[in-house]
């Protein structure tokens, strides 16, 4: 197996995901299978290839690409509406469990 149980647990920690022991088993098998398939990419000679970090911003699209907009403040009276979606808030803040012990 390419992927160990410890790998799955470590990645779940990096991703801030709580997994049940059964999920760890399932993902170990499935990630192993998927990454085994992905290994076919090693057949491709990429030694002289640049990574594709932009999708279509070359040629016509690049020429027509606008300047980035001015970084200026625009009025936004939405704090109330945004906070109304929060699981817990105390205007003008989001509330979270205590992180600093006094």
């Amino acid at each position: 197996m390419k992927i160990s149980r410890e790998d799955v647990v470590r990645v779940a920690e990096l991703a801030n995901l709580e997994l049940t022991p059964a999920e760890v088993d399932t993902y170990q098998t499935q990630l192993d299978q998927i990454l085994g398939y992905v290994d076919k990419l090693t057949e491709v000679d990429v030694s002289k290839v640049e990574p594709m970090s932009q999708v279509v911003f070359s040629g016509e699209a690049a020429a027509a690409h606008p300047e980035l907009r001015e970084d200026v403040l625009r009025p936004c009276d939405c704090a109330g509406a945004v906070l109304a979606q929060a699981p817990e808030s105390a205007k003008p803040f989001f509330r979270v469990p205590r992180v600093i012990e006094r």
């Binding site: 995901l17 990454l35 992905v38 469990p97």
Partner: protein, 481 residues
């Protein structure tokens, strides 16, 4: 107005102008159909009759004043539930956002409203648009209106089913690796993925930002073109939207296709392609040849690497984009333990199995020690897949292929095997990686009566050509008025 009326965009316009029906009547008729039939298909997650009726009344007021109607006046539309709608619940088919109500509209939604469309509600989909069968919705699968024991495809399964079941005239879906075209193929309706950057994604809940696109479903290619005309174009709120002029797609859609060069890549007709699908697609290509198109054989050598490339890049981007769901600002919170416990439990319980699988895969591919082997290598192979398309478009005007290797499969058939599910995207992810536009247009049925889709790719920002070829085929095949 009988329940069997199959409305189109121009038919609605004519009915409004001749006062055969009001926008309110048309809208109410569709809401009635949904209330009666949605439990059969599960295509809608939320209805928005308050906003829709207000929109209808505004159109009726425009008619009463004798003013010019906007381009989509009175057209009932379904919107995939990953696209933000002000005041209308937007769940992404996830428990994570079960009660989330966006405070703003996506630009595509705002443009539809301005064009006179009537919002029916939000369409079911795979959770966070991740899946190819709509079985990953936290609110139950959608059924295929053509064959109820089969999947409608995914991830935009509800958007496709709503139009196919005559519960909406047009709909918006999103396509990251095939999520518009594949359900269009499975449900037997035209489905268009525009060029990357053609349609603003402001307000689209992000899955894989270098791949996500918004596009339409319709019952005919001309209506899909009408929707694209409205939603396309630069948006200052999305710096990845291109400032390339949007042509009038309806003006060129009826032009002759005589003399166009259609590329047929042998790589899309090999092992894994269902015999009946192959036969239907080849017969569609023969129809295009009869219309005067010239068939050019192509070889696109990196086609076979597209799935592996896609599932590294898309999951890597997803793992980053979905980091925002942490129980702090909106959505689900599991209020247990420390802040760190809260993050982990919220995400562990709020996300479904496929979303967690992709976050895990993407996090692994980006993690220290694996980045070069997976993510960077995939980005390089992506360049080669894109080069295959660039080379092909030196020789041809469009590329035609099957949309999917098989017709719609049975509910549950692939849900235990994620890799088999991923392979259903084998012909669609190539164009997604290259950023080119593609449409799926119905090209007949298997003996069992299951729809087959013909996929047509075009050059970047050349949706006009894609729509023109699709429309010519549709009319020749006798699929549309």
């Amino acid at each position: 107005m009988s329940a069997s009326t199959r409305w189109t965009v121009p038919a609605i316009r004519e009915a409004l102008q001749t006062k055969k029906a009001s926008a309110r009547e048309i809208y109410s008729d569709f809401i009635g159909r949904i209330e009666k039939h949605n439990s059969q298909w599960n295509a809608f997650l939320t209805l928005s009759p308050d906003r829709g009726l207000a929109q209808a009344d505004r159109i009726d007021a425009v008619i009463a004043r004798g003013e010019q109607l906007p381009p989509l006046a009175g057209v009932p539309v379904a919107i995939k539930d990953v696209i933000s709608t002000r005041g209308i619940r937007t769940t992404c088919a996830s428990k994570m956002l079960e009660h989330y109500v966006p405070p703003y509209d996506a630009t595509a939604v705002e443009r539809l409203e301005k064009a006179g469309a009537l919002f029916l509600g939000k369409a079911n989909c795979d959770e966070f648009a991740m899946g190819g069968s709509n079985e990953n919705s936290a609110y139950g699968p959608v059924r295929n209106p053509v064959a109820p024991d089969r999947v409608p495809g995914g991830s935009s399964g509800g958007s496709a089913a709503a139009v196919a079941a005559d519960l909406a005239v047009v709909s918006l879906g999103t396509d990251t690796g095939g999520s518009i075209r594949q359900p269009g193929s499975y449900c037997g309706i035209p489905a268009l993925m525009p060029t990357y950057g053609r349609v603003s994604r402001y307000g689209l809940v992000a899955f894989a930002s270098s791949l996500d696109k918004i596009g339409p479903f319709a019952t005919n290619v001309s209506d899909a073109a009408a929707v694209l005309s409205v939603i396309a174009g630069h948006d200052p709120n999305d710096s990845t939207s291109a400032a390339i002029p949007v042509p009038d797609y309806l003006a060129t859609i009826a032009q002759s296709v005589e003399g166009l060069r259609i590329g047929v890549p042998e790589d899309y007709f090999g092992a894994g392609l269902d015999d009946e699908v192959k036969e239907r697609v080849q017969s569609a290509i023969a129809t295009l040849e009869k219309l005067g198109c010239r068939r050019i054989p192509l070889h696109m050598p990196h086609t076979d690497y597209a799935i592996a490339t896609y599932y590294i890049i898309a999951t890597a981007e997803a793992s980053s984009n979905l980091a925002r769901y942490d129980g702090v600002r909106y959505g689900l919170r599991v209020p247990e333990g420390t802040l760190s416990d809260m993050y982990r439990k919220t995400r562990g319980r709020g996300f479904g199995p496929e979303v967690k699988r992709r976050i895990m895969l993407g996090t692994y591919a980006l993690s220290s020690g694996y980045y070069d082997a997976y993510y960077l290598r995939a980005q390089k192979v992506r360049s080669l897949v894109a080069r295959d398309f660039a080379d092909a478009f030196q020789k041809v005007d469009v590329i035609v292929t099957p949309t999917a290797p098989t017709p719609a499969f049975k509910l549950g058939e692939k849900s235990a095997d994620p890799l088999q599910m991923y392979l259903a995207d084998i012909y669609t992810v190539t164009g997604s990686l290259a950023g080119v536009p593609g449409i799926s247009v119905p090209c007949g049925e298997t003996k069992a009566g299951l729809p087959v889709g013909l996929q047509i790719f075009g050059r970047h920002f050349d949706e006009a050509r894609v729509l023109q070829v699709a429309r010519a085929y549709e009319l020749a095949f006798g699929n549309a008025d």
